[in-house]
């Protein structure tokens, strides 16, 4: 890591930062990986309604070992709970909510994300091919698409000029959150909105493939 924090700490930092993006009453779908951590860090007083694409609103914390049931699981297969005011429904309804623009934000991981807002996160041809699951619908239908990703993996930037892997969605990403920075995707390319306290813009440029504009005044990311 560029800034001397562990991978786990970096992931938690990203999750915490994203958790501060939501407004009271927002409806949010979290992907697996870093996104799944976000729900642990929602600020007090902000009531976010979590959607799971297998058919649930009002998803609560993980179930206790002795209380969970396969009849209530998160999108990653973990046994979870349902909060008061939650609801269950079939998959067509669940994706009607997604595709129809009824989900405020989806947070997804990335294999690659680029300056046009293209996202690749469902396959590496010939190697890792999990499938798109609900991700293609989520990036198409959610009102805002946030990407949560480590800034680099094995030294290689995850934010690239142009995705080389098969896309999950074309020009769909609104914001990118890493342990080093927050970018907004604009029609003119990336706009740096926040930077981590440990780095400066020139070192950030070295680990970010595309050029980016810088918002003035540039905010220091709260960590």
């Amino acid at each position: 890591m560029l800034i001397g924090i562990s991978e786990v700490e970096a992931k938690v930092r990203i999750a915490k930062r994203i958790a501060r993006e939501f407004k009271d009453g927002d409806v949010v779908n979290l992907g697996i990986g870093i996104p799944s951590l976000v729900s642990d860090y929602i600020p007090e007083g902000v009531r976010v309604i979590f959607h799971t694409e297998n058919g649930m609103l009002g998803a609560g914390p993980k179930a206790r070992e002795d209380e969970g049931t396969p009849d209530i699981i998160g999108a990653g297969g973990v046994k979870i709970t349902v909060l008061p005011g939650g609801s269950f429904f079939s998959s067509d309804i669940s994706f009607g909510l997604i595709r129809g623009g009824h989900i405020d934000v989806t947070v997804l991981g990335a294999l690659e994300v680029d300056e046009e807002g293209n996202l690749a996160n469902w396959m590496i041809p010939g190697k890792l091919i999990p499938g798109m699951g609900g991700a293609m619908d989520l990036v198409t239908g959610a009102r805002k698409v946030f990407v949560a990703t480590l800034h680099t993996v094995k030294g290689r930037p995850k934010i690239v000029k142009r995705c080389s892997l098969p896309l999950t969605g074309k020009r769909v990403v609104n914001k990118i959150f890493t342990e080093l920075a927050v970018f907004e995707v604009t029609p003119e390319g990336l706009l740096l909105k926040e930077i981590a306290p440990e780095v400066d813009v020139s070192s950030l440029k070295r680990v970010t493939e595309p050029d980016f504009k810088i918002e003035e005044p540039l905010k220091i990311m709260e960590v």
Binding site: D24, G25, D26, V27, R47, I49, M56, L57, G58, V82, P84, G85, G86, S87, F88, F89, D92, F95, G96, L97, I98, R99, G100, G101, H102, D104, T140, G141, R143
Partner: protein, 221 residues
């Protein structure tokens, strides 16, 4: 999309920002599942030139049928107008525009509008007037009419119960078009007979998730 809890309003307050020329969906089939209290408020309100999307135009003196009798509607999109004598009369006189839609197609068009789908491909209406002027696709050797999605500025729906988060529970076959319309309008106003606390409707029994509902109004009858 909205607040965590949904505002509970008087019927007058809930409909007052519906402007002239608005497109509104109204739930119900014949006398069942109609938001009568909201309709009364709309009659009082006096809003004009409405486009009304509904299964049927009820009766001239019942429910949203009254809006037509009261001259507040310029266009109806419905599957049936046979029980409202005024609708039939105005239509025959050329004073009211009526788009007839087969009932199952109407349900799917509303659903498509709310579900982000581009249209509906249905065999219903092939070889009839319902096919006229529409694109027909041949898919796997069969013909289907391409029917377009429907959306509205406001949906006025009716449920049995709501909780404060807007979760709705319907009862009987009064459910009909109501859950579909909840997806397909910019502002969804739910009239309910009973308002309960969050948690009182079992998550398994919620027919319309509260995130779709913007305003709650209690029935006056």
């Amino acid at each position: 999309m909205g607040s965590f809890f949904k505002p509970v309003m008087s019927p007058e307050e809930a409909v007052k920002d519906i402007p002239d020329g608005a497109t509104i969906m109204v739930g119900g089939f014949n006398i069942g599942g109609v938001p009568y209290t909201l309709i009364e408020a709309l009659l009082q309100h006096g809003v004009k030139d409405l486009t009304l999307i509904c299964n049927d135009t009820a009766y001239e003196d019942v429910g949203h049928g009254k809006l037509i009798a009261n001259g507040q509607v310029k266009k109806v999109i419905a599957s049936h107008i046979g029980l409202n004598k005024v609708t039939q009369k105005l239509y025959n006189e050329g004073k009211l525009d009526v788009e007839f839609v087969p009932q199952g197609t109407l349900a799917e068009r509303i659903r498509a509008g709310g579900f982000g789908l581009g249209g509906v491909l249905t065999p219903t209406g092939l070889g009839t007037l319902a096919e006229e002027g529409k694109q027909v696709l041949e898919i796997n050797g069969k013909r289907y009419i391409l029917e377009l999605p429907l959306r509205a500025d406001f949906a006025l729906i009716k449920a049995k119960k709501a909780d404060r988060m807007g979760n709705l529970y319907y009862w009987g076959n009064a459910r009909n078009f109501n859950p579909l319309m909840a997806f397909a309008a910019d502002v969804v106003i739910a009239e309910v007979e009973e308002l309960v606390e969050v948690g009182e409707i079992d998550p398994n029994d919620v027919h319309t998730p509260g995130i779709l509902v913007d305003r709650i109004v209690l029935s006056r009858r």
